[in-house]
Symmetry: C2
Subunit: 248 residues, 2 copies
Amino acid sequence: MNEVIQTILAHKSIRKFKSEPLSEETVTTLVECAQAASTSSYQQVYTIIGVEDKEKKRKLAELAGNQSYVADNGYFFVFCLDYNRHLLASEMKETNVSETIESTEGFIVGTVDVALAAQNLAIAAESLGLGIVYIGGIRNNLKEVSELMDCPDYVLPLFGMAVGYPDAEPGKKPRMPIEGVFHKNRYQKKEDSLNYLKQYDEESAEYYTKRTGGKRVEGWVSQMAANMAVPTRTYMKDFVHSKGLNKR
Amino acid sequence: MNEVIQTILAHKSIRKFKSEPLSEETVTTLVECAQAASTSSYQQVYTIIGVEDKEKKRKLAELAGNQSYVADNGYFFVFCLDYNRHLLASEMKETNVSETIESTEGFIVGTVDVALAAQNLAIAAESLGLGIVYIGGIRNNLKEVSELMDCPDYVLPLFGMAVGYPDAEPGKKPRMPIEGVFHKNRYQKKEDSLNYLKQYDEESAEYYTKRTGGKRVEGWVSQMAANMAVPTRTYMKDFVHSKGLNKR
């Protein structure tokens, strides 16, 4: 197993960091790695905002649901889907790209572009001994986050990422059985899906029971069935439309 | 610079592969790497379909706009956003997750989850000396691709990925200047965006002119302004809704 695959397989989200900040050189390397990812039709539909201002980090932590590690880390990135740049390009050349950048297709392209760049940055950071955690929590209050970051129309912060020197050693949560996630030639039959779900429910229940000394016993199926029955961020459709995105 | 960062920075999309197939062991390692990626609230909103059937690969290549490397490669993956599994989980436990899995927020979560997993697989493949190319082209005819893969409701193929031993050495297209993509503490001012766009337009025009012996001279700004003025895949909103996703 090479160093790259070792790094990838060793991933665990880190939620407690030492106070040591990342050097400017490290930050630059990480962003260069993000930029090296594949991008749909060369569009590069992302902007990465490095949040260094302590007051802004504190505010972001609050908006993300009081997650202290959003403020306390080695560096904090906000990853934005960005079609503002393509709008400017069309204005410079007097064309009209509205239908493209406002479409559902464009929203898929942009969201994928942002995530590929972010994951490159994550892997690069982990290869340097840093820990990372994705912060979907910035979508708890996306209007406020968007204003705090001065994002114009056609720019949507999708998630944040805290990076830093790890100050915790969390366990590695067991993933779905590979046969449940990896199908061959066609989507698997319902009976197979149900079998793998049952198997996974037991395995994950065992993991949690062991980790909590017997206290918490729900497996993945119960967790998802309960957690996802409570809708969150239900304002998202309207907010995303208000920024000009995912509209048609 | 470590091996991981070297691998990431050396990325180029490969569109011509040797006929040598990936071993089953390699395919398994790649999927395990995909599964190791971060996933929002442990939801794992993805299914990866390995397409080994030659006739299906040929059909996919046709549907993706006659891209030969979709059929001719070492392996082909289709990456799907998948909330069917969470629907089954809710049925097993008699809860209702419809509002969550049909929402715009859910669509963001799922699309990001799929892309993080895919990028892990891409980096792992490249670390083994393999080449990769993302195939957004499967969205040219997504209804047909979806049927070919037997995807149930709440499952949406987002993109494919051809993997294999490279049989080409393409150039590396210059990315946006880092200052254009990486902002500090707030989204940059419009005048700065315009300056970086102009700089990038010149740099990329120079690259293309050099690469084509003077024939092609448009830079990134002109390319985007022209290409994106032609909307593509305009059926996407309706099709995605018909699968139950991104609806509310």
